[in-house]
Amino acid sequence: MITTDVLAPVVATVREIQQETQDTFTLTLETPEPFNFKPGQFNMLYIPGAGEAAVSISGDVTQPHELIHTIREVGNVTRGLVALKPGDQLGVRGPFGRPWPMDVVDGRDVLVIAGGIGLAPLRPAVLALSAKRAEIGRLTVIYGARSPEDMLYAREFLGWKDAFVARATVDTASPSWRGNMGVVTKLISPVDFDPTRVIAMICGPEIMMRFAIRSLSALGVEDDRIFLSMERNMKCAAGICGHCQYGNYFVCKDGPVFDYDQVRKLFGVKEV
């Protein structure tokens, strides 16, 4: 049953805004009550006069007193969101959606593959996986970005490199860049995980996810151990309006995280 709660926003206050890249910002919000969520879930953020947009929660599940969203400025609502100043208020509805499969990772290697802004919905999963490293197998994070200047959480990523396998690559760079350059799939190596048991979590542009799935399948990773976060336009975010329909699924309710076995037939098909 759907309660009216999910349709009524709570008022959140901006505590901090941090510029990540030229067009992407991280907002830290305070809510009247601690905001509990699971890695991979999203909120609907509402700016009066501009509208509402679905934005993943990018914070740490163990820190419910700070609600963190990383937002790329692409249109009306996101422009309004990144223009907020500390002390400003906005509406928040959520958390919504099916999270990353944190309940199946114990004892298994985990491979996280992110592209561009796709690292934002994966950050809570990486933090949670990092915190429970003793209970899982090897943790590997692979990140592809447009350029070194477009990399999210750049400083934090350096810390990840010290704690587990974390590799980044970019599509373009100036000659002074000493890091990896090339497509993200080049960083997928069976040296880092056991393909017969690994759980893969992928988020990025659909074409990048398609190539990543192809590489994983070639290594023998089964479809039901590959998890993806999908994006579709949202309105109610509560499984009512059908705006986010994706084949037989509503992305807001049945996703945004799907296993590839569920969406294989839909994936890569234009306009489903």
């Binding site: 790329r72 561009g116 592809g144 373009t172 760079a173 000659p175």
Partner: protein, 156 residues
């Protein structure tokens, strides 16, 4: 380095590991180990492509020169990757620059030697060309994805 050691290294390397023993024996006859220091140039666009290289350790960058521009980095390569396919195609000249970003250990294969062996043994030649076709296929995929600029904001 002894020939049997080279043979063993080739056998364990990603690029060669699924080739039959006989092929590896023949190929190791054209191979030697080389090291290159960070900042050194392995190959220059337009120069004779007498060799190709298989990376055992380290990181190198493939670059394209363009008049009146800084060199354009295209891709980095590392352990398991191959630098150079021009040894296979006349007029046997490098199409890119290759620069070491880190101190790197490579297997250098003499292109003329291997071409001769492939001409004499077409089964070997077919398997070697298939390996390089796969390298080219992967580079083509990578280049098209990079050119698509997939992380840029969408134009709906």
């Amino acid at each position: 380095m002894m020939k049997h050691e080279l043979h063993e290294i080739l056998r364990q390397h990603d690029f060669f590991k699924d080739l039959p023993e006989d092929d590896l024996l023949v190929i190791s006859g054209c191979a030697k180990m080389v090291m290159i220091k960070a900042g050194e140039v392995l190959a220059r666009e337009g120069s004779d492509a007498n060799n190709f290289y298989v990376v055992r350790m380290g990181k190198l960058r493939i670059e394209q020169q363009a008049p009146a521009m800084k060199p354009q980095p295209i891709q980095t390569i590392g352990c398991g990757d191959v630098a150079g396919w021009s040894w296979l195609f006349p007029p046997y000249r490098w199409s890119f620059d290759v620069i070491a970003l880190e101190d790197s250990r490579l297997i250098c294969l003499d292109g003329a030697c291997l071409r001769g062996k492939c001409e004499n043994n077409h089964s070997l030649g077919y398997r070697v060309v298939k390996k390089f076709a796969d390298v080219l296929r992967q580079r083509l995929h990578a280049a098209s994805l990079q050119a698509m600029d997939v992380y840029a904001p969408r134009e709906d």
